[in-house]
């Protein structure tokens, strides 16, 4: 494993080696296990302007550091990235395209990335996007980076837009009788005018809704959510509320010897997916547009692949060993191929071959 501490160093590696696969904090083992270059020492916040709502940091910077810095100025990352405690980095989060439950409100990681400095497969260093919150100039390479697991280029610096952190939050926990009821409640809450921050459902069909904003208003709104959902449930505030979502963010519900999988769904897929999983642990998130699965390491990858294919759901395996982290209903289309040809014509970043020495 080679550790880089500068962009130039990385660019040189790309130019001189046949293969470069990058790892950040190693939290998404399905991809980082293939890595031969680490960015964990390419770390540090380069610029932070709270009045501008923007910051720029090196890709290997840990989310923990950024989160702490933003909070000190009453700001936060609105896409609620997961695995903060586990040591996830900014670059790794973008490459894996990961957003947390809180992305429901204002958007996911793709909606907050403004600019990226990256190294292409030809070893060129380019600065793409911008440092301001609004930009329509040129091609949107930062967006292309999101979720691409580094296949088009390696990010070294990232510029993000942030928002003021909400003053207060409250969680409404709703018990439900059966799955159909839970799904109905989720659907109606998702498009209600209650402006929810989070809307999840766990394996025991319990719904977890969160509201955020000004304290007095949050209390009233939490009550409204409870009423709208039929009244059966509890409201968590302050430390309890914070602990709940921290546990969720760190995926504490995933048992040992299980791989974490991110599955893209729509609300109508919830029931068929759960049926196909047969009692495996899961968490539905983002009002029914995202599902996290815990897949036992001992079970075959083809099995999950088939299930997801049948449901027409694309997915990303974040942990465990997989022939390719992209499973389920994925197809590399022509557009993608042409982009690879331009950005990485020699396939240095490709995921499908094992990392060389």
């Amino acid at each position: 494993m080679q550790y880089v501490t500068s962009t130039e160093q990385l660019a040189e590696l790309v130019r001189s080696q046949a293969r470069v696969r990058v790892a950040g904090g190693g939290t998404k083992s399905a991809t980082s296990r293939l890595a031969n270059v680490s960015l964990s020492r390419l770390s540090g916040v380069l610029q932070y302007d709270p009045e501008e709502y923007t910051f720029t940091a090196l890709a290997g910077t840990r989310l923990e550091e950024i989160d702490r810095l933003l909070r000190s100025k009453s700001q936060y990352l609105p896409f609620d990235p997961p695995l903060i405690e586990a040591g996830a980095t900014l670059g790794g989060t973008v490459a894996a395209g990961l957003s947390g439950s809180g992305r429901l409100r204002y958007g996911g990681v793709r909606d907050f990335l403004l600019g990226a400095r990256l190294v292409t497969g030809l070893g060129e260093t380019v600065t793409t996007g911008s440092k301001v919150v609004k930009n329509a100039a040129g091609l949107d390479f930062p967006k292309l980076m999101v979720g691409s697991l580094g296949k088009f280029g390696v990010m070294t610096e990232l510029t993000f837009k942030v928002f003021p952190a909400p003053q207060s939050c409250a969680t409404i926990v709703l018990d439900t009788e059966h799955l159909a009821q839970a799904v109905e409640i989720m659907k109606s809450l998702a498009i209600s005018q209650l402006d929810l921050a989070c809307l999840d459902m766990d394996s025991s069909r319990r719904i977890w809704a969160r509201v955020a904003g000004i304290r007095e208003a949050v209390e009233l709104r939490a009550q409204r959510v409870l009423q709208l959902a039929g009244g059966r449930g509890t409201i968590l505030t302050d430390q309890q509320d914070a602990d709940t979502w921290q546990a969720c963010r760190e995926f504490r519900w995933v048992p040992d010897e299980h791989s974490l999988i991110k599955v893209v769904i729509t609300p109508d897929r919830i029931a068929p997916l759960i049926a196909a999983l047969e009692n495996l642990p899961y968490r539905i998130s983002v009002g029914g547009h995202l599902a996290w699965l815990a897949w036992p390491r001992l079970r075959s990858s083809q099995e999950l692949d088939q299930i997801l294919h049948k449901l027409g759901c694309p997915a990303v395996a974040l942990m465990g060993e997989w022939p390719s982290p992209w499973i389920g209903d994925h197809q590399e289309n022509v557009f993608e191929q042409r982009l690879v040809m331009a950005l990485d014509p020699n396939n240095k970043f490709s995921l499908s071959q094992p990392a060389g020495a």
């Binding site: 060129e124 329509a136 100039a137 040129g138 292309l144 729509t266 289309n333 993608e336």
Partner: protein, 485 residues
């Protein structure tokens, strides 16, 4: 292209479209020669009025076969020349390709054809108390396809983002006629964000045939405030104060005195005519949340030294206040025979500096500049007024415009916040980005469209391949990576 081949092309095209939908005479195509950027005008070889996605694909394939450049056009409202025809090329008019294909209120999604009008999305979703957030001022006219091509913005970008943030997936036809699916129907994605790469590519990557959009629940309550200031910098400072307070309004807009004058003459929204600047701030959200935010906003506005503050008392008043803002560009036509509208972005904290500089340039060039802008995200729209009948004024106006863009670059901003590059700012893109970045963009473009047929001449300069009988191999071709077969 030699005359025989052109004739062949035309014959083939006439087999795809009945006479009424294939426009070729000078008179028939004249009104398609310009879009919202009236300074430019070019004549296409033909305009086709498509009525199905298949017709789009067939046309693109035919163009590819014969090497004929093409551009798609929605309502032709682009302010950067995005739908300006390519001389000798084809205009693919999509305004009739405007059906609603699928509507899923419980998922908060809708699928439409590219000719669907922007505001009609919200109109349709209103029945379920949903709406489509990106609201460019041309919303009643512009189409989703155009919004996708240019990543259109609007006044509510601060909180909700631009078009790209609301497009979940698309079906597109690439410049060689290949049809691909990007993204999907979900808010989330697995795999590269190809949708995000396509949105804002100004037609260079092909044409969208179906677009899946995200719908949001309508805010329960709006609180819309119009504050008047006796100096423009005070209005700018007020914005900084709102931001510092931790509030996140749905929109924050500023208009200066000239813009107010024009808007009032057109719309009679009741804007205060003597104000040096007005600030429009809108809070939105659940009832209780807005109610809790109002006292905070009042305090901030109070401290900002506005000499007059108005609050919209009902939906009608709110719409009137917004009408005054949204008609501002077009209304400026009353103040001056001609104008250029710019679209630069500066960091919000440097807004005051930017306005001072614009004023200085206005004096230097002796041309009036009206200012309308999305103060919340530092997106300026200086409207440079000039009279084209006076010798040299157009050139002066363009120079002034150029200086403003250079200022935006100097300040670390952007040369366009939402109107895109089109033809208008081609010279400035290489000033905002360096040589390597420009080469990368061109390489990507050539990889997707080796013959440069899709909206040729826009955004990126045209390199070898402009005239198709000059067959100099491109470096990527020499490397065997692409071929022009």
């Amino acid at each position: 292209m030699d005359a025989n081949r052109l004739e062949e092309f035309r014959t083939q095209l006439s087999r795809l479209f009945p006479a009424g939908r294939l426009l070729t005479s000078a008179t028939q195509v004249a009104s398609y020669e310009s879009d919202g950027l009236t300074a430019f005008r070019d004549r296409p070889d033909a305009v086709v009025l498509v009525e199905s996605a298949d017709e789009v694909v067939d046309t693109v394939r035919l163009c590819h076969q014969y090497g004929v450049p093409f551009v798609a056009r929605g309502s032709g409202t682009s302010l950067s020349g995005g739908s300006l025809p390519i001389p000798g090329g084809v205009v693919i008019a999509l305004n009739r390709l405007n059906r609603l294909l699928d509507y899923h209120p419980s998922h908060g999604t809708i699928v439409v054809e590219p000719g669907f009008v922007n505001q009609h999305v919200s109109k349709h979703a209103a029945q379920d108390r949903l709406y489509y957030a990106p609201d460019p001022s041309s919303g009643p006219v512009c189409t989703i396809g155009g919004n996708v091509a240019f990543n259109s913005g609007g006044a509510h970008c601060l909180k909700y983002g631009m078009t790209a943030n609301h497009v979940l997936g698309m079906k597109v036809v690439l410049p060689d006629g290949e049809v691909v699916h990007l993204g999907g129907q979900s808010l989330e994605m697995a795999g590269p964000d190809l949708t995000g790469m396509f949105v804002g590519s100004e037609g260079l990557f092909g044409i969208a045939l179906e677009v899946t959009l995200r719908l949001l629940p309508q805010p329960e309550r709006y609180h819309t405030v119009l504050a008047a200031y006796d100096t423009l910098p005070k209005a700018g400072d007020a914005v900084a104060m709102v931001v510092a307070s931790g509030l996140l309004p749905g929109a924050m807009e500023i208009m200066d005195n000239l813009a107010i004058e024009a808007s009032e003459a057109a719309v009679h929204a009741g804007y205060p005519l003597e104000a040096a600047g007005v600030l429009l701030v809108e809070l939105e959200g659940p009832e209780e949340e807005v109610a809790a935010e109002i006292p905070l906003l009042e305090k901030v506005i109070g401290e900002s030294n506005a000499y007059e503050v108005r609050v919209a008392q009902n939906e009608t008043e709110r719409m009137t206040i917004w009408k005054g803002r949204k008609c501002a560009f077009s209304a400026v036509g009353r103040l001056s025979p001609d104008y250029i509208v710019q679209d630069g972005v500066v960091p919000r904290t440097r807004l005051r500096e930017a306005l001072d500089e614009i004023q200085r340039l206005s004096r230097k060039f002796d041309l009036r500049v009206a200012n309308v802008f999305h103060a919340g995200d530092g997106n300026l729209h200086p409207l440079i007024l000039y009279d084209g009948r006076i010798q040299g004024q157009l050139e002066q106006a363009e120079q002034l415009a150029g200086e403003i863009l250079k200022m935006c670059i100097r300040f670390g901003g952007s040369i366009t916040g939402e109107h895109g590059i089109g033809v208008e700012k081609i010279d400035f893109l290489p000033q905002m980005y360096g040589e390597l970045e420009m080469q990368l963009m061109k390489r990507v473009r050539l990889s997707v469209d080796p013959s440069q047929l899709a909206n040729r001449g826009k955004m990126l300069e045209v390199s070898a391949g402009k005239t198709d009988h000059k067959h100099t191999p491109h470096p990527l071709e020499q490397a065997g990576i692409i071929s022009r077969a």
